[in-house]
Symmetry: C2
Subunit: 223 residues, 2 copies
Amino acid sequence: MGFDPVQPVRAYERVVEQIERAIYRGDLKPGERLSSERQLMVEFAVSRSTVREALRVLQSAGLIRSRPGDPNGPLILPFSTIALEKSLASLARVEQLSLVDLLQFRMLIEGAASMLAARGHTPEHIEAMEAALTAMEAALDEGEAAFSVADLAFHEAIASAAGNPLLRACNAVVRDVVLELVLKKISEAPDHRAQMAETLRLHRKVLDAVRERQPARAAELSR
Amino acid sequence: MGFDPVQPVRAYERVVEQIERAIYRGDLKPGERLSSERQLMVEFAVSRSTVREALRVLQSAGLIRSRPGDPNGPLILPFSTIALEKSLASLARVEQLSLVDLLQFRMLIEGAASMLAARGHTPEHIEAMEAALTAMEAALDEGEAAFSVADLAFHEAIASAAGNPLLRACNAVVRDVVLELVLKKISEAPDHRAQMAETLRLHRKVLDAVRERQPARAAELSR
DNA sequence: CATGGCAACTGGCCGGACCAGTGCACCGCG
DNA sequence: CGCGGTGCACTGGTCCGGCCAGTTGCCATG
């Protein structure tokens, strides 16, 4: 038999773990409140410093938010991908992620999403994508910013249609960076409007392929 | 003109930010040490609680590790995807991620990686993949555990050959879950050895496609 | 009935204290 | 002189008590 190396478990980790579990198990739902720090320190039978360190960790994980002075205590946040995005941003810095890598990754994700969307979309999904395209068309005259936002909505719709939460998360993670990128690309083009129109045209072809359930073609077009 | 809503910046956040920047900028490299908490509290002119809360955040982000009693102070860690994996695990729990979603995602990633690998591999990459396959072959008689480990190495090699850090990260993120899965699948099969042999055969075909630079075929096989 | 002020909280931050553990230098032994 | 054991200085983990600025909601005041 083998023994496991024993490593000390910090008190604040126990606190973090308990609260995390309560959230994941659904005992604590987004919008609900945690007790105040002074109350928690009684419930967990630890000092306030320990409670605070635990709350710091949970906060940096994007699970809760605490505001000074709020008598209702720390707020349980709805899940968001900001923690993922932060980790990814960190990865980007450390690994010297280039824009090329990012764009390439985005295209792959997009291609995969289109493929899945072409296979398993529902009328609602198509409708959402149509709406996004219409919005992009309308935004043609409203300037680059509005257009970029509509562009994001389209990609979001595709990711949703794909039906895989992980893909949607990947999409969300690169969203912000891509937004910036699209904006830059458009404003650098000699003819902004033409560039936007070209983008729109490509998107429409992707949508067509998805609607007609041609996975391979949809994936190809997205790249 | 519009005013921005002013929100208080916590002292510990400033500390986190400064240390993060120092790491990202390369002023602090992995393996190096931070000053002790008592020293840092002098340098940042804050209390120890504040320093500690900052360190907690950095630790939960996987950037540093501190051990009690170590006179050298907190250790700067090499980058790892554990933070990313934790966020993703969190996502999985909240979004009720199913095994199907996970496997599907993994196949997509794998497909994309194979495609890129087929396009841009180098002799070293092929060599690594060959080695992994050989190890798998050898593991055929060593049991499921060894085989699964070798299997992981193969996927890791493909992700590396793809050359996109984000893909590699995605691979790392789902790795653990997949390991468990592969193991289960094999042990459930009527004939373990046959199942393993079949897996091996498929992997070899993927490698062949990659070597012969057939992106589409490699992607298809991976799925 | 609206409104302004007040009090009872909140979280943010500080300082000091104690403890168990670690690493290193020192010292005595062989 | 080399080496192993020992002690000490220091570490992080945790606790306590306190102060401050801010928020909320109630209540008295107009």
